[in-house]
């Protein structure tokens, strides 16, 4: 009997001890990052967020609390991303979630966010995301976007083309684009703008997803006597397109060629991207267009030994700072920043009147949680590959357009 009593006392002491240890556990702020972790987009997200977290922690964290990074691999699949989002919310109780690369994945999981009620700072371009927020604010208000809405791309492509026209007198253009939903929306807008700006579209070539050989495309370009190609290509085949363009076609290419914003694109194409004119949505390229970007690129390289491997890195870095701003504002006003509704309220205060000084420019959200793209804020940048370097040519320039 005595032994039993001693055992019960010891067990009770152990339980109390553990409980005390639990209460003494340091309070932290958890930043969740979700994305395709095997791909560079996921790795970029993690690196960008990590850099921001380390910088903030080095200065004492937020409200005296350290920031902790928690990641989940969405594997570029809607269902796996849904599991990851729920795990970040229910298992980890994160304060904010960053990432969710690709429009299809984000749109498919807007209802998951409505269920878990966590702020999600997404990395995708489809107008559908913010359209849905406008239609059902109550459910989708937790979603904010730091990437440019794709409806801003066409005017920027025209800006690049106009710049080329000043040099070469471009009149006839051929559109070469992915056979994909994201391009269909931009394509009609682009055609209208081309006509309004005095260009003649002599052909509009949609390329199937696995197309490798582009001889037929370039022969058509030549036969139609086009002065320029306007390209909209988001997939890996861009390397094949650009390599063959350089060898077979003498007309300039201006466009949104997403793989070409990667600093490694020069090596991937063996330098065949020289003189390619590219739209970098929301300035997500390693070009020092301002002092903040210059410092960011320097710190990034020091920390990871390379420049941002994907455009997702810029967004996740700034997302952490946007969260910090909202959290601190809420705290200062005596509200609970761990409440997602409060956090939404203060993220909405990062607007045109009260922008955040980001690395790509001034960060502000619209009423429907899109990032503001335009003069004085983040801009869609036109740059040109020149001898292995990216040179910004419009609307911010670090050099001259050459041909």
């Amino acid at each position: 009997m005595k032994k039993l009593v001693v055992l019960i006392v010891l067990a009770s002491l152990l339980v109390i001890g553990c409980a005390q240890k639990e209460t003494k556990k340091e309070e932290v702020i958890k930043i969740g990052v979700i994305g395709p972790m095997e791909l560079k987009f996921g790795k970029g997200m993690v690196e960008g967020a990590k850099l921001a977290i380390e910088e903030i922690n080095a200065k004492g964290g937020i409200d005296g609390k350290k920031l902790v990074l928690v990641t989940r691999d969405g594997k570029l699949k809607p269902d796996v991303t849904a599991q990851g989002l729920r795990s970040l919310a229910y298992d980890e109780n994160v304060n904010v979630i960053i990432g969710g690369f690709s429009s299809g994945i984000v749109i498919a999981n807007m209802d998951t966010i409505a269920e878990i009620k966590k702020v999600w700072m997404v990395e995708c371009a489809s107008p559908t995301v913010t359209k849905k927020i406008a239609e059902d604010y109550k459910d989708y208000k937790y979603i904010f976007r730091l990437e440019a809405n794709s409806s801003t791309f066409a005017p920027s492509i025209i800006e690049g083309l106009n710049l080329l026209r000043e040099k070469l007198g471009v009149k006839k253009v051929v559109i070469v684009r992915d056979q994909a939903k994201w391009v269909e929306d931009i394509d009609s807008q682009l055609k209208d703008l081309l006509a309004k700006n005095g260009y003649e579209v002599v052909d509009d070539i949609a390329i199937p997803p696995d197309k490798t050989n582009f001889d037929d495309v370039f022969t058509v370009v030549k036969e139609k006597k086009a002065d320029a190609i306007v390209a909209m290509i988001a997939h890996g085949d861009a390397v094949d397109f650009v390599k063959q363009w350089k060898d077979s076609c003498k007309v300039p290419v201006v466009g949104l060629i997403l793989p070409a914003v990667d600093p490694n694109f020069w090596n991937e194409t063996n330098g065949k991207c020289d003189k390619l004119i590219v739209l970098a949505p929301a300035s997500e390229v390693p070009i020092p267009i301002n002092e903040n970007m210059e410092n960011f690129l320097k710190k990034y390289k020091e920390r990871f030994g390379h420049l941002p491997i994907a455009y997702s890195a810029y967004e996740s870095y700034e997302a952490v700072y946007a969260f910090k701003r909202a959290y601190e504002m809420a705290k200062k006003n005596g509200e609970d920043p761990t409440n997602s509704d409060v956090l939404v309220k203060y993220l909405e205060k990062i607007n045109r009147q009260n922008p955040l000084d980001g690395v790509r420019g001034k960060i502000a959200f619209t009423k429907n949680h899109d990032i503001v793209v335009g003069k004085g804020y983040v801009v869609n940048l036109i740059f040109q590959w020149q001898n292995g370097s990216m040179v910004a040519v419009a609307p911010i320039s670090t050099g001259e357009l050459v041909w």
Binding site: D215, K243, S248, E268
Partner: protein, 277 residues
């Protein structure tokens, strides 16, 4: 019409390089080598890694690495060769394994090798790069060599005999194992050559392993399983369909058109264009 003939011929030659090894392995050993795309990718990646150190010698090393992988695969498949399902599972697993290794080592971005010959030539208004022309010539030489080897040489006749009936071939004293090994070796070298040329014109990435397999599979099925001649004809047929549709109509329909033709041919001739019982 001339541009279609020129572009179709060049693309057809490249497709032939991709598919001929695959059909040879099936024709002789009845082996569905789902790791065929691996030979292709390995030569390209090895060449890509070594190019800064060895220059164009890396291309030879790349092809050699495919040959070594081919030999390794022969020994892996040997004990289970009679079980077709096991062979498919093994070769497909190997392909997926190597795809993952490449993905983890090099990432998902495409890689390419600088072309041996720079510049391009103009054929009746079509710009054909020197490397594409080289690939076409290499493809033609390899096709002729393969045909010559199979029809005129002793080892070729042994290969034909084994492909027709390997038990009878064994009875008449043909070293069947040697034929199997040689076939796998030739197949891997053909794919290896295809890989290093392809990576100079286009690019390869981890997904190329399965993409190339699908292309090769479609060509071989259309041509008739095991028929080298059938593969060559179907490679050019697919190429001309894709090019003509893209040129005269719209590029977006090119792949759909070639798939419809494959299905139509298989309905009429389930064994493919040159398939035999």
């Amino acid at each position: 019409m001339l541009p279609v003939l020129i572009i179709g011929a060049i693309w057809g030659g490249i497709l032939t390089l991709v598919a001929s090894g695959f059909t040879l392995t099936f024709g002789v050993g009845r082996i569905f080598n789902f790791a065929h795309g691996t030979f292709f990718a390995i030569s390209a990646y090895v060449s890509y890694i070594l190019y800064p150190h060895l220059g164009y010698l890396s291309v030879v090393v790349g092809i050699l690495s495919s040959a070594i992988l081919g030999l390794m695969l022969y020994f892996m498949v040997k004990p289970i060769r009679e079980n077709e399902i096991m062979v498919i599972l093994l070769t497909l697993s190997l392909a997926l394994l190597i795809e993952q290794v490449i993905l983890l080592t090099f990432g998902e971005d495409p890689v390419s090798i600088p072309p041996i010959f720079k510049g391009s030539l103009n054929f009746f208004g079509v710009e054909v790069t020197s490397t594409k022309l080289l690939s076409f010539i290499v493809a033609i030489i390899l096709i002729v060599l393969l045909e010559f080897t199979i029809s005129r040489t002793r080892i070729g006749k042994e290969i034909s005999a084994v492909s027709q009936d390997y038990e009878s071939a064994m009875i008449v004293g043909i070293n069947v194992e040697r034929v199997f090994m040689l076939t796998m070796l030739i197949s891997s070298i053909l794919a290896g050559i295809g890989g290093v040329l392809y990576a100079q014109i286009y690019s390869v990435n981890p997904e190329s392993i399965l993409e190339i397999l699908i292309v090769a599979f479609a060509i071989v099925v259309l041509g008739g399983l095991g028929s080298v001649k059938g593969s060559i004809v179907s490679a050019f047929l697919i190429s001309y369909i894709q090019t003509a549709v893209s040129y005269f109509s719209d590029a977006r329909w090119s792949e759909l058109a070639s798939l419809l033709v494959i299905i139509a041919v298989l309905i009429v001739r389930p064994k493919g264009l040159f398939g035999v019982e």
